[in-house]
Amino acid sequence: MQQTLSTSVANASPLKSVLQRFPFVPALIILIALVALNGFFQPRSLSFGSITGLFSTYLALMLLAVAQTYVVFSSDIDLSAGSIVSLVNVVIIVLMEKWGGGGLTVIAACLVGILTGLACGVVNGIMIAGLRLQAIVATFATSIFFTGLALYVLPVAGTPAPEAYWLTYGGTYFGIPFIFYVVAAVAIILGVLARMRLTTQMLAVGDDAMAAFQTGLPVTMIRIKGYVLCGLFSALAALCITGDTASGDPLVGSKMTLYSVAAVVLGGSALSGGAGTVTGSLIGALIIGLINSLVFFVGTPSEWQNLVQGLAILIALMAGILVSRGGRA
């Protein structure tokens, strides 16, 4: 892999070398175009309040896309990511309710929620990397299992989050909305992770698991770590969704799973593994959000909205591929 990388950089066009180093550039161009289009059709969508709202709503999907990216890196997939979101959501809601909802108990509940996410990741990792079950089917099964657990913890949607929790999430500190602090913190964590050896190892496993194994990499352990990271970021996504929705809902995340996969692909990562960036996935999640808004702002009749939304996502995918091909030619 290193070999091909160095030879191709040597005789590459400028576009090609940019794409080599930043595979998310096509996604970024699409994102900028979408922001411009949204602003053109509804100028108020570019107001500070609206942008804050966009992040507040889609931060959960962005984090879930990141979660998905870490398993896609090593050519795995996690169809249970959305169910982990649901499970963590109801766990922290029920705990905050039981423990009284004060400041410290809120933090304790969040920690338990994160541990829950990690545990789900470990279960998935052992199932897939340890027991060699097919990722797509095994995580489909665990998604049903986690949803069942969530329904056991909280049988029906309800139970408000303590105000301390969601007022913080929706609040503004020193003139900056709280969520932008979250965005900054996430960016730092992702920056650190991207520089860790683990990311390269996961990509190497996704590129060619056999080769990685033969060079002495602990492939099973690396894949398990990918699932654990996925569980961790799914849990963080759940913390965000709890902040934005202020309540428990045992089915809240179920529909988000495939959106997270779509965001990963839109962001320029290969589902076959071995190539991709978390930055791209973050952008991919925002693209999905902006497409949904744009479909409305251009005034699409309601009966066509699903169709247009699907087409727009397809066009975004194609545009990304065309730009990448242009770089390769």
């Binding site: 108020r44 809240v252 699903n306």
Partner: protein, 341 residues
């Protein structure tokens, strides 16, 4: 004399209202629907659009903007944000979650936007629910079934999606009713996820397991599937089961003389909610404040019931419509006005 004076007065009043309204009464209402998996939802939106159109005759210009697509909860929160960006006067929402919209509705209220939920109740204090009581809906079908069976027999229930609020309320409704009939035994309850094919499959399994059941409590489109299994097993003479409200089923019900009864959750609920919303936007106040339901913010609409006594009327009402068309009813503008001071 008196009469003509009255007439003159009302005419003047009407003119005054219409003159006033052409100047001031332009309302923009956002409709949000987060799931497009059934024709019922499409019909719901279409009826609401038609209801908005009908206000023109009253000199009120109601513009509706619609967001209807399969979205997750954050996606539907984005619907609300988009409406806020666009500057609507009111938002009518068929919500994907009962509780998840509390913060965003609070923000909408702060912008003086009226928020009305329909079809599924929401916990937000900043919203009003205009729709049917799902628990009473479930209870009505159970009451019909219990009475049809003469208060005794083995009954099975086929439910929708576990954990879905409307499903849980409907289940609570039938449990309460069956609890009042000591000789009615609910021998099994299964979930078929509001899917017609799964409903049919579930019924087949139940018929095989319990040859002696005499009653089936089943909801919505699953009823058509369950009835298909009952007919295939040639048990339609010995089993009474709840039905549903689409024309296809009503036709079979009538031609095969099924022993059925159906609570109606009319797709017209959103149109009803729109009529209430416009009156609220006009600054009118409800005679009885909307404080019903578990969240204390609900205004319940009447629930029609179809059984063999009024089946012909229902069949006439949907005559000539496509097979997926649901029997409907809505609060007309006049009916809605009666609820206000």
């Amino acid at each position: 004399m008196k009469k003509s004076a009255m007439f003159a007065l009302t005419t003047v009043a009407a003119m005054a209202v219409s003159v006033f309204s052409t100047h001031a009464e332009d309302f923009k209402i956002g409709l949000s629907n987060g799931w497009v998996g059934s024709e019922w939802r499409t019909q719901m939106i279409d009826e609401a659009k038609a209801a908005a159109e009908a206000w023109k005759a009253k000199g009120v210009n109601v513009e509706v903007v619609v967001q209807s697509a399969n979205v997750d909860v954050p996606g539907q929160i984005a619907h609300v944000r988009n409406f806020m960006s666009q500057g609507v006067n009111a938002i009518i929402i068929n919500p994907n979650s009962p509780t998840a919209f509390d913060p965003i509705f609070k923000q909408a209220k702060q912008q003086d936007i009226l928020v009305i939920a329909t079809d599924a109740e929401v916990s937000s204090k900043d919203a009003t629910y205009v729709g049917i009581d799902q628990k009473a809906w479930g209870a009505a079908g159970a009451k019909w079934l219990a009475e049809t069976l003469g208060g005794k027999g083995n009954v099975v229930a086929i439910n929708g999606v576990a954990g879905h609020p409307a499903n849980e309320m409907r289940v609570a409704g039938y449990k309460e009713v069956f609890g009042q009939y000591p000789d009615i035994k609910v021998v099994n309850e299964v979930n078929a996820n509001w899917d017609q094919a799964q409903g049919q499959q579930a019924m087949q399994n139940l018929l095989a397991t319990y040859p002696d059941i005499s009653g089936v409590w089943v909801q919505d489109g699953m009823a058509a599937g369950a009835w298909k299994s009952i007919i295939d097993a040639k048990k339609q003479s010995s089993i009474a089961a709840t039905g549903e409200i689409r024309k296809d089923f009503i036709d079979i019900w009538k031609s095969d003389k099924l022993n059925s009864g159906a609570s109606v959750n009319p797709p017209g609920v959103m149109a009803s909610a729109l009529n209430v919303a416009v009156l609220m936007l006009q600054g009118k106040e409800l005679k009885e404040p909307a404080t019903a339901g578990q969240y204390g913010n609900a205004m319940y609409l009447p629930i029609p019931f179809i059984d063999n006594k009024n089946l012909d009327e229902a069949a006439n009402a949907v005559d000539g419509k496509p097979g997926y068309y649901s029997y409907t009813s809505q609060l007309s503008i006049e009916d809605a006005e009666k609820l206000f001071k």
